[in-house]
Symmetry: D2
């Protein structure tokens, strides 16, 4: 089974290279009858687009989406929804001079190892432009989830802070979710957001880049989603998040810190909610127990490595293995975090849409 | 697509409940011609078995595996390999009294939410006995990988240390991989192992349980494994690990700590190895770049929450939502870490076996 | 993706060789809450069993099924249902002498070509004993369909008639469906059934075997089942039927004869039924239009080649390619038709169960 | 799993409606390194195109394909190949007047039954324009097969002959394969081709349409392709062929006629070929034994029903179930056979490409 599709019932296939004619995707499995128009997709793509602010790449692309199939009179028909975005600002000349060098931290070497050669223009298919298809698919998933009362949002939780010393992060302290889309870092803490922007500026001046953490949440998820035993909800979300470029760690609820906890601390007591339904008194578990949603908020965090493209000279080798010094020019983000926010939302939305549909088959009628 | 299968080309399906007649699995897609006998499977199952030491549950099961198909004259035939283990020491009476209560931290509530009812005997299918099928499948994957020069091993890296204060861990300092299978904690640091055993004893006396971290490594993985873009190697490994019960965090290489690093620190320079091949001078990336193996050691860490079954009274509700106090008796592990080691190895082995086979299709011949 | 699984949402995996310890299967994706007991499975297996009459093989096997998982208190739990049947009457000695010869019409040569070697005992995995898993899985699918008002049945429609000359068949003229299970040919026409038994006896005496046709019907199928465009209902049924050993032709409705018809003859006019629903005035289309069920009876016919095992000497070669004469002893059916009936029913039942579940995802709620 | 994808390793996804902006497809899983240019695709699409001759629809579409991804410097890169064809001659007005009527023999009623509504313009997704994506995907599969020495071709074998009386066909008697692409019927028998054209003309004048048979062959298929037990080669080919609109019967080798044969007649003796390899002395089996290719020519026949769109008035109902008379205008083919030829070739090519790749995993290395 080739690797460019995701999901079982709500299924996305993406295609396209950074400097090819276009990038796009097909969503298969969206139920018939969902109200959908181009602006629903465009709104999310605009959030992902580069050139939105000084913290992201200067590449200018309108990223205007076209819907080519699957919609009739404003509603999905149950057939595949094909979408594409033309590539308009591809400057391959930046890449021509380094096409035989392996950029550190990039996929140049591994793609050659896999396929024997690669489309080196703009990173080819390993470019972040591939995520356009994900965000487009995720926009449809979000609409579907909205009809079920599910809301998804993400934000920049933390950013590396080299000025504060090794292993330090700038981390949101105050969580004002209305603030997220108002600042260019998409951080819920307005003060920390300002500090983050300063650090990103400093990193760019230092010809360096910064890692960080995005947190994604889903509210209103009905209990019961997730398929034992391999397609547990956290397994499918974990896969979704680790399929995003640059992600090196994923955690739910207390995350890696569960390693420091005892059972008495971590167990969340069940209780009766005011509306009579069963809930939990705390949410250490992050919304999933035994691989199945509990109805509590799902909380996921992703650690993104610092972007590999930095403007300073780096040691590497060429295809023949001969040592070389490489300077990566082009238009690169010193941080991917704000743009990672809509991508992470999209991936979570698609997993939940998939499991929302799969849950329809769990019981006899 | 139901959720009890894993992998695309090397494909495992597990079945069975804790207190049903048996648990087992089918491996489909193992190439013909692999030398395989029962003891290859049994050896790994013995490592997973409970009752091996004082740090694990007192349930006594020989867990003797039978191979029912797919082998002829000592070699795999290319047909499905069916294996089963009878359940011999199931004591359902422990569970009868609490069958209408939702154990905190367990999947009782979520399974009821999903299916409307559940097999409450011993946790039913959400029991850790399900992992027998994984370890059996992983044993075959390991044999297949051995023919390609790949070696996989795991160990207990860290354990919660409640006596040292909140958020503290006992963590291996010295890595003697020969030591792993010699101590009951499967920790590569003999001194830390002894401390861990003490803490586990203390936790049991305190009617509590402990979280921790297992680290898994794969050596000798050829460069080129992993399928862009959704079936990236870390995506499939991430899914595999998050499908294991109790896992709340998964990370590769520097893991969550990449959030505190800069690009200049994290990028691993490419270099020519002594044998002329291309490698990297450091392994911050943990063996995978762009979703594809680099040939360096793959390094994964899993954070396991403290086991939810603790012997002290806990607040909860019953199926009707009425408040209740629950005391979970039975035979439970105060830590799952040593038994998690072979399970994590099995899951990594199956992902790599799957991608080793998938890589056969990457290029024209 | 290995080839031993069938179906997307109601998914069967079979395993086992003719002379291995057992054959069996796992059904994954059966919804929770279906009432199911061993006798529901056994009843169907008894219909498939050899040794039922003088028209089938003399091999004596009780084929007693065990259910190992997925049932609790008489109902399916939503988890995999594992079933097995021990192989009790395997006589490999019949096969030892011909293990290096390629039996004409059998899969010996092709399995060697594929895998390099094969389990030659009793045909190994290419034996008809593999269909035990299909019939067991189909029995569950039938129960699920029954809850939706769908009824499936099949019968022997025609048998080769060598005494009447080339290209002649004995074909049922009268269709009394109550008659099917009363005669050993499972033919709905009692007179033709008697003639068929005579021909089978004659074929056995002539050390020969006979081909024929089975017809399968599904009544009460709701309109709307089938997934455009590749998983059309006839595509999935076609695959199901062609996966049964010995099938060389499959047709729906008028079948191959549509090649002789005009549009005016073949088109079925739509009309209003007495109950107000929309139906068709005739059923040339065989219950499926555009790949989707119409609500009319689904009618499928399968042509089974004459069994390849005949007791007369035949020309062939051995593994080295050297010419040889082979005499296939053992206990073989001169016709497979009566035993094909429950197998064909099982395959149709599984396709319809699969699409019944898939249809749950077609529309927004 | 939604139904718009086909194949496991060489995987096609099609999208698009008859009167939407475009139709297209994505091929995922084509190995890297295959030489491929637009004209390789266009050549096959030109064979499928309408308006080629007087026996097909008058709709005029250039059907010019664009390749949007997956090719670099004239070779496939291993990434998805996205292709599209704009819809340029869509005249929806023909359909507006009948949008609430169910055309006999068409999918209007069943799509409404499935999805609740449908894109009625030009048949929407149930239009034959969807097969453009199949032919584009098949063109790539053919190139891949060519590198393995496999050649595929098809032709019109038979056509209904209403003037000769019921149940009669015009059937090729002489097989000159060079003749196929020279006549507009794509019939290998030049004399019969001329008679077929006469009958098609007569059918058009009679406001009627004709059924027929296409035969497809694959030469040079290596022995060993096909996956026991459900993904047998004939099962996957059967599914492929039954997924083509209008197909009501599929058969291999002797096909439905095996029902009239005895084992002694049908069994093909194995023999040593002149080159030392093992072959068969006859090919009753049609190139597949036990679901696996033998190396002999694969021979498949498809029966296509007469096109449902006929210009004469027909009885039907509207969406409310009220009786109505319908006259289907528009531009319709009185026979689909010549255009079915490249479609059938494409489907067979994709199945064989898929199994050629899957066979790479059958054995240990």
């Amino acid at each position: 089974m080739p690797g460019n599709s995701f999901g079982h019932t709500f299924r996305l296939t993406t295609w396209g290279e950074s400097h090819g004619p276009a990038v796009g995707c097909t969503v298969d499995g969206c139920p018939a009858g969902l109200e959908l128009c181009v602006s629903d997709i465009q709104r999310e793509l605009d959030r992902r687009r580069v050139g939105q602010s000084k913290v992201s790449s200067a590449r200018q692309e309108p990223d205007q989406v076209q819907i080519l199939s699957g919609i009739f009179e404003g509603r999905t028909t149950g057939t595949p929804i094909s979408m594409l975005v033309m590539n308009s600002d591809a400057k391959s000349s930046h890449y021509e001079s380094i096409k035989d060098l392996y950029r550190p931290g990039h996929a140049d070497f591994t793609w050659d190892a896999k396929y024997g050669f690669r489309d080196w223009r703009g990173g080819g298919r390993s470019s972040a432009r591939e995520t356009i298809g994900r965000v487009a698919g995720g926009a449809i998933a979000k609409l579907l989830l909205t009809t079920a009362g599910v809301r998804i949002f993400a934000y920049t939780l933390a950013l590396a802070d080299p000025q504060a010393g090794p292993d330090q992060m700038l981390r949101a302290q105050v969580f004002d979710f209305e603030e997220i889309e108002r600042n260019i870092m998409r951080c819920p803490d307005i003060k920390v957001a300002a500090q983050m922007v300063e650090r990103v500026d400093a990193a760019r001046r230092a010809l360096d880049s910064l890692g960080g953490i995005v947190e994604v949440r889903a509210q209103g998820v009905p209990p019961g989603l997730g398929e034992p035993v391999f397609d547990k909800l956290q397994a499918d979300i974990g896969k979704a998040m680790f399929s995003i470029p640059a992600i090196k760690g994923v955690e739910f609820g207390e995350g890696m810190d569960v390693a420091t906890m005892t059972g008495a601390e971590h167990n969340d007591p069940f209780m009766r909610r005011d509306d009579g339904s069963i809930g939990v008194a705390s949410n250490h578990h992050g919304g999933i127990l035994g691989g199945i949603s509990t109805g509590e908020e799902i909380v996921v965090r992703l650690a993104a490595k610092p972007p590999a493209s930095i403007a300073r000279p780096q040691q590497t080798v060429d295809r023949a293995g001969d040592p070389a010094t490489i300077e990566v020019h082009g238009r690169h983000d010193p941080t991917v975090l704000p743009r990672l926010v809509p991508i992470a939302e999209a991936m979570l939305a698609m997993v939940l849409a998939d499991h929302l549909l799969r849950q329809r088959m769990a019981r006899l009628r």
